[in-house]
Symmetry: C2
Subunit: 361 residues, 2 copies
């Protein structure tokens, strides 16, 4: 029996530039079958929440440019459950809109907010964790974030330090949010046992997040309060089109989570990765016996290991003497980059724009 | 005024496997616009001989599989000037057929035989050299080969050692033909001033090469002598279809040039390269300021030099931290191979066949 007051917001408006050229402006990584499983990351996110939240309560928030991709990939979703942002404004305005929208439909609503481009491998543990989170935010005035049990001193993630325990096992007050640490600090974090990876998964009641937005991000809440009467009506789209672009661009972490007093963390361990980088994709993909990862391609390798080959069309890749590289072939762009230098991809995207305009983005 | 007894035989039946995957069984390198000039290597070979030999005397010998490619690329050539080999039998049977064919059309014919996949940059010197060669073989009972003034101790070519001079400047008796030397021997060759690169370009009268084939390769000449009356008639194709495959597969160098007593070499210097390897293509192509060669592609490079990028379709290649590699993208095959390891390409082709059949060949 699914609780009809529970909602899910899947955010899928990002452009995934760290995975360029595989992830493109026209089809970011959440719309790609990244692991070659037959389902895109967005579809996997949808599949994962379906046992927990009634289909009619699953809402996808995306950029207007991706409307047709969402409809194509999630044909079961009703058009009224696809919220199209007219501009990119980071997560706080996105979540605010979803909260005002859902609260208008159901003032008793609770909601889970989740990115669409993460990978979760242990779905039953995910399901149990989300149910527990819903129960907690339904019983308490709480903003709940999910902290992932870390398995290594990862420097690519933000961390959450747990504070005082609650009556619920594995749910604590949040002591601090931290930015990405350097390696030595990350090692200290791991040893302490107090730090968990910041997953970007949140649960709260719609009213609770509205209240905290009013407290900590009044510029944003004011926009949506101004349109109070339009949410859930046929006038909502016009209102959003006119007012959403005026919101400041800011993450929900900066706008609310790091400021509010009722922030809790549920520590979980359900095989999570944000797949935020090629290296994390390499780390989370099955390697062949020579230690290479081949996505969507046949591979003949000679004196080569530690590479990830990601190819859009069926292709034979033959490689000699290559160690620890990213090779991403996206049809009209071929990227060959040392795994340790992938932070350069951002610069490469800029250089491609400078030299060739939008053609290859 | 073009001498109507002069003929040209362009050989273009090879499969160019050293340039796999850029060169494919279905379209070997001579049929590719390898340098991005707008003309394929075959078309450049044809253009080069056109001022010297009457168009109706230019004959292309190729494998039957490539008939349509030749017709498409050389639309000016009459069908009767395209000789289609029903099987691959190396250069001696190919040249023998051409000689018997041409001698039947014109018993006084002289002919230049040339590969279709070499690069020659100084066309006026080429023209003068070929004219001089024709005059020599028309005045003397001689098999004339062209020896290229070497510019470096190349270990990838065979060499010709010059012997006694003739009355003609820059034409000598051949003392020896040598196989590909190692580097120390190649250096000795260069210092001696007596050694020239074996170009695979030959001139002779049709009767002279027929006579020498009869002397030194009687198994082959016997096949063509058996069909003496068919050459130049409508029965020639049937005869070839039936008898050509029975010829032994052997090069003209082994079969005749290394054995005959009337072999001469004209030493020339017209900017020749056989483009036999990716490294030679790299050496003969303009490099950008970072020291990379980009064929048919836009390149953004970071900490990368000494690479050759050859791409079939217009594509952006972005590369970080790559030194001295071959990157060849042929649509359905991507090859990344150290330049120093390109002798492995043969093995790679075999492995591709073992694993995937003919699909990628």
């Amino acid at each position: 029996m699914i609780n009809s007051h529970r909602y899910c917001v899947i955010m899928c408006g990002g452009i995934g530039s760290r995975f360029w050229p595989y992830s493109r402006t026209a089809r970011p990584k959440q719309f790609i079958d990244f692991l070659g499983t037959g389902r895109t990351l967005l579809q996997m996110s949808y599949d994962r929440i379906l046992p927990i939240v009634d289909k009619k309560n699953i809402i996808v928030v995306t950029n207007a440019d991706y409307a047709s991709l969402v409809k194509e990939q999630l044909p079961d979703i009703d058009d009224s459950n696809i919220m199209l942002e007219p501009a990119r404004r980071n997560t706080a305005p996105c979540i605010a809109w979803a909260a005002w929208h859902i609260a208008a439909l159901d003032p008793q609503a609770s909601m889970v907010v989740m990115p669409s481009d993460h990978l979760i491998t242990r779905e039953r543990e995910f399901e149990a964790s989300i149910r527990k989170g819903f129960e907690f935010v339904e019983a308490n005035d709480a903003l709940l974030t999910l902290g992932i049990q870390p398995s290594r001193p990862e420097t690519g993630y933000g961390y959450i330090q747990i504070g005082n325990p609650t009556e619920e096992e594995s749910i604590n007050r949040v002591k601090t949010f931290t930015e990405k640490p350097d390696l030595s600090l990350a090692e200290v974090f791991i040893q302490s046992g107090e730090f968990f990876w910041n997953s970007g998964l949140f649960l709260w009641s719609a009213e609770a997040i509205k209240r905290e937005l009013r407290k900590h991000a009044p510029d944003i809440s004011a926009v949506f309060d101004r349109g109070q009467e339009v949410f859930g009506t046929e006038n909502e789209d016009d209102f959003i089109h006119e007012n959403f672009p005026g919101c400041m661009s800011i993450s929900i972490d900066f706008a609310v989570m790091e400021k509010a007093n009722n922030v809790y963390v549920e520590t979980v361990d359900f095989g999570w990765t944000d797949l935020g980088t090629w290296s994390s994709l390499y780390d989370n993909s099955p390697r062949n016996k020579s230690g290479n990862v081949a996505q969507n391609c046949s591979l003949l390798s000679y004196d080569s290991s530690g590479n990830i080959f990601a190819v859009k069309e069926d292709k034979l890749v033959v490689v000699d003497g290559l160690k620890d590289y990213i090779v991403a072939d996206a049809g009209d762009v071929l990227l060959i980059c040392r795994k340790g230098e992938e932070q350069r991809i951002k610069q490469m995207v800029n250089d491609a724009r400078m030299n060739f305009g939008e053609k290859y983005l």
